[in-house]
C-alpha cells in the first residue's frame, strides 16, 4: 500500500489512515525526487505553474500511490485543487481523498526558533508532517536573520543564511500543524532582517512582496533552481544587514 500526500494533512485524517493501513509506505509528493524531472508535468499543465505543483503532478504519476491525500484550498493552495481533474483522468485507479486542514491546536514551533542550521530545520519540519507529537527538547535561540515562506523547491537558498536564522510564514504554520493560520503566517519578528521567499507563479508572492515592503525585508521569488544572481541578492542583503 502506497499513500501519497501533499501539504499538511489534518491529524485526524493521518491517524485514521494509519489505523486502517498500519504498514503503508507514505510519500510526501511535494518533495522533489532525484531522477524524476518535474518538466514531465509540462505535458499536462502550463509552464507558468509553480515548481511545487509541477513536482506534485510528476511525483504522483511516477509513484502511482494507491491513496492520494490531497490537501487543497486555504491550507495549501487552489493550484493543488486544479491538479485533481488531471490526476483523476490520467490515473483513475488512485483513490483521492480531498480535504482542507482547519486544525486549530497549536503544536508550537521550536524547530523554527532554534539554533539548528536553516537547511536542517527545513528538513526536520518537512520530515515531521506525519508525526503526531511535537518536537521536544529544542532550545530557543536569539535570531540573527529570518526566513519567511514555504519550503522551497530548491533548498540551496537555505545554505546562504547564518546560523540562528528563524523561520516564519507557512513553514512555521507547518511545524505548528496549523497550515490554515493566517495570523501566524503573517507574523515576523519586528526589526529582524528577513528574506521573504516565494516560488514563482505562487499566489503567496502577493503576501511575500507586501510583507517585505512593510518590514523592509528582501522579497525573493524563484522558479525552480536558484540562479547565481538570486543567491548573490540574498547574500548581499544579509551582508548589508550585518547578519553574518
Amino acid at each position: 500500500m502506497k499513500i501519497g500526500f501533499i501539504g499538511v494533512p489534518p491529524l485526524g485524517k493521518i491517524k485514521e489512515i494509519k489505523t486502517v493501513h498500519p504498514n503503508a509506505k507514505w510519500f510526501d509528493l511535494d518533495v522533489p525526487v532525484d531522477g524524476i524531472p518535474k518538466s514531465f508535468a509540462m505535458n499536462y499543465i502550463p509552464e507558468t505553474t509553480c515548481s511545487v505543483i509541477q513536482t506534485i503532478l510528476t511525483n504522483t504519476i511516477a509513484v502511482k500511490p494507491d491513496i492520494f491525500i490531497a490537501v487543497t484550498g486555504a491550507s495549501k493552495c487552489d493550484s493543488a485543487k486544479f491538479l485533481l481533474p488531471i490526476i483523476k483522468r490520467t490515473l483513475p485507479e488512485i483513490k483521492i481523498i480531498e480535504c482542507n486542514n482547519n486544525d486549530k491546536k497549536d503544536f508550537g514551533f521550536p524547530i523554527c526558533t532554534s539554533a539548528i542550521p536553516l537547511m536542517k530545520k527545513l528538513e526536520l519540519i518537512t520530515n515531521n508532517v506525519l508525526n503526531l507529537e511535537p518536537a521536544a527538547g529544542i532550545t530557543r535561540s536569539t535570531p540573527r536573520a529570518g526566513f519567511w515562506g514555504v519550503p522551497p523547491y530548491d533548498f540551496s537558498i537555505l545554505e546562504l543564511f547564518p546560523d540562528n536564522t528563524h523561520i516564519f510564514g507557512w513553514t512555521r504554520c507547518m511545524e505548528n500543524k496549523t497550515p490554515n493560520n493566517m495570523e501566524l503566517e503573517l507574523y515576523v519578528q519586528p526589526d529582524l532582517p528577513t528574506v521573504f521567499f516565494s516560488q514563482s507563479f505562487c499566489q503567496k508572492n502577493i503576501l511575500a512582496k507586501e510583507l517585505a515592503h512593510l518590514h523592509k525585508g528582501l522579497y525573493v521569488e524563484v522558479d525552480g533552481k536558484m540562479d547565481s544572481s538570486t543567491k548573490a541578492k540574498v547574500t548581499a542583503f544579509l551582508e548589508l544587514k550585518n547578519c553574518y
Binding site: D227, A232, A236
Partner: protein, 219 residues
C-alpha cells in the same frame, strides 16, 4: 592594481597606477583582451578565475555611499541584464532589491534596438506614448507591434525607452529623488524620461561599482 566591474555586456576597468578608466565590450574577451584584475565585481566575475570577488549589490551600496550626497538616498543601477537598487536612510542601509530575470533586460533591449536600427539618442524626439511594459523582451514585442501599425521607428523606440524608464522608476519605488548608475545614465533620452518622473535625478555614470570596489578593499 586593476579593479574590474565585469558586467553582462561591458567590462569597466580602473587601473590604480594610471587612475585611468576603460570600458570594453564583453565580446572583446574573445579577442585577446587579457585583463588580470586584482579585485572584481559584476555578473561575469566568474570569467576571471582566482580573483577576489565582491558582491555587486554590496559594491553598488559602497559606491553610492561614496558618490551620493547626503545620508538618505536611493541609487538605481541599470545594467544590460538586470537592475539593482539600494536605499540608505540616515546613513544606514534600509533596503535593496535586484531584478534579475523577470522584468529585466532593460539596458540590453535599448542598446539592441538602437543599434539594430542605427539610431542615436539625438535622432529621437519626445513622445506622449509610453509602452506599458515590465521587461525588455515584452518591450520588443510591443515595439514591433507598434511599427506594424504605422508608428515610425523613431517614435517606437522613443515609446520603448519611455516605457522602460517608467518601469525602472516604479521598480525603484517611484521616488522623487534618485541616483542613476550604469550605462543608461549616458543615454540622454532615457535620462530625460526618467527625470520627468524623478525630478531630482542625478546620473552617476557607469563606474559606481568600481568606486564601491575601492571602498570595499579599504574595509
Amino acid at each position: 592594481m586593476l579593479l574590474i566591474d565585469a558586467g553582462t555586456s561591458y567590462i569597466k576597468a580602473w587601473d590604480s597606477k594610471t587612475e585611468a578608466t576603460n570600458v570594453y565590450p564583453i565580446i572583446d574577451l574573445n579577442k585577446n583582451l587579457n585583463l588580470k584584475p586584482d579585485y572584481i565585481t559584476g555578473h561575469n566575475s566568474k570569467l576571471f578565475e582566482n580573483t577576489c570577488c565582491v558582491n555587486e549589490l554590496v559594491a553598488l551600496a559602497e559606491g553610492a555611499k561614496s558618490l551620493a550626497g547626503g545620508k538618505s538616498f536611493t541609487v538605481l543601477d541599470i545594467g544590460a541584464r538586470d537592475m539593482k537598487l539600494v536605499t540608505f536612510t540616515d546613513g544606514n542601509f534600509e533596503r535593496c532589491d535586484w531584478n534579475t530575470s523577470c522584468g529585466a533586460m532593460v539596458g540590453f533591449t535599448i542598446e539592441l534596438i538602437m543599434k539594430y536600427f542605427n539610431k542615436a539618442p539625438q535622432d529621437l524626439k519626445e513622445t506622449d506614448a509610453a509602452f506599458d511594459i515590465t521587461c525588455g523582451l515584452l518591450g520588443i514585442t510591443k515595439f514591433f507591434d507598434s511599427i506594424s501599425k504605422s508608428t515610425s521607428i523613431e517614435d517606437g523606440i522613443s515609446s520603448l525607452i519611455k516605457g522602460l524608464a517608467k518601469f525602472s522608476w516604479q521598480f525603484a519605488g517611484s521616488p522623487k529623488s534618485l541616483y542613476l548608475s550604469g550605462g543608461l545614465s549616458e543615454n540622454p533620452m532615457f535620462v530625460y524620461y526618467l527625470k520627468k518622473l524623478s525630478p531630482d535625478l542625478i546620473p552617476l555614470g557607469r563606474f559606481v561599482l568600481i568606486e564601491g570596489l575601492k571602498r570595499s578593499i579599504k574595509k
